[in-house]
Symmetry: C2
Subunit: 200 residues, 2 copies
DNA sequence: GAACTTAGAGTACGAGCGTTCGCCAAATCA
DNA sequence: TGATTTGGCGAACGCTCGTACTCTAAGTTC
């Protein structure tokens, strides 16, 4: 530990904390994050960790936000060169399947884990989870709507049904990977998404 | 509290503990179960609660098992009069959708919650979660296989694909109900399951 | 009815939790 | 260069956790 403490270093430290916190949370949940444990693993003091966030709840929310930003960078942004519509949607879905098959975090997708963990616990963390999921669903939905309006999908196409099935495939893929390490689920998720887009 | 303590009363007490534990776990996870909290809410001593299980881990596993038995009673057993095959499968699926739409537990399906919570944490609890999911998948799979063998489904029917999509619909329904209280998801889950069985 | 078993109470324990406070040294700003 | 801000440390706090004891009164078994 070089004992320099500039403002830039502070941001860097904050990033280190959040990175480790996201790893822990992906395996043990947002409640598995512990200030004492982070301090020990990062070789700093509890109060040092604590000071960056002021509250454990803030640390949890910031951890979730960081994981979501990383997810967005990898899944959504590479697809933005495509115009809104079916092609972009397919790229986003393919990226998300790849993300779930080979996640950045050791315990899989943090958004998915946080969903189950906090869906029944009112509070700021739950609100943050809902916000993150709303953004993700909104992204998928926008491309579905664009595809319908662009005539890429049949006239009576049910956007919400397709959205439901796409999200379902992601949840099931995450579960199969994390609980059973079932690589075959990757192909099934891809096929399920393709079927979701073909409502014949 | 009448201070009788027969062997029958002990079983009854154990049942009360597990019922409350299942409620808590459905909302806050298996880790939300706390011996002190159970003791307080059930108006007994911590050591009294503890004695029934010997270990918190055992309490968690027994809670999961109890929830699974209740699930089985409501979802699978009513369908057993039907012979194995497509009709029985449809009854089981309908029951499971109803279960997720109106769960016995306040926080929704405990098996689903436990899946996300423990899929990244090796140990006896994780093993119990895997066992429970394996049984559920096995039940669905058996009827799918019977349906194929009985000629109720097309020749090239992909059983594992259908199983994946059925499980996916359940996970997505649970998420939609718990996070967004989205009643419309019930119909989408039913349709998704019907589509899973129609692989034209 | 005596011997034994057991449900549960009561108390205590060590450990870990989030948070607070005072402090220091370096970075920044005037 | 002097004053101020701030990243981070160290120690302590009150609390809750799971678990381990002892002890009792009632049930069960012979």
């Amino acid at each position: 530990m070089s004992p320099r403490r500039s403002a830039a270093d502070a941001l860097l430290t904050r990033g280190r904390i959040l990175s480790r916190a996201a790893e822990i949370a992906s395996e043990e949940g947002l409640d598995g994050i512990t200030i004492g444990r982070l301090a020990e693993e990062l070789e700093m003091s509890k109060s040092g960790v604590h000071k960056h966030f002021g509250t454990k709840e803030t640390l949890q929310i910031d951890t979730l936000d960081k994981a979501f930003v990383d997810f967005w960078h990898r899944v959504v942004e590479p697809a933005l060169p495509e115009p809104p519509g079916l092609r972009r949607l397919r790229v986003v879905c393919a990226n998300s399947v790849n993300y779930l098959a080979e996640p950045l975090l050791p315990g899989g997708c943090l958004m998915t884990a946080a969903l189950s963990e906090y869906d029944g616990r009112p509070g700021a963390v739950r609100d943050a989870v809902a916000e993150v999921w709303s953004r993700w669903q909104g992204q998928l939905r926008a491309d579905l709507v664009a595809a319908v309006q662009g005539g890429e999908l049949a006239g009576g196409f049910d956007v919400d049904q397709a959205l439901f099935e796409i999200l379902a495939a992601g949840l099931a893929l995450n579960a199969a990977m994390q609980l059973q390490h079932d690589q075959a689920a990757v192909g099934r998720a891809r096929r399920a998404i393709e079927r979701a887009l073909d409502q014949s």
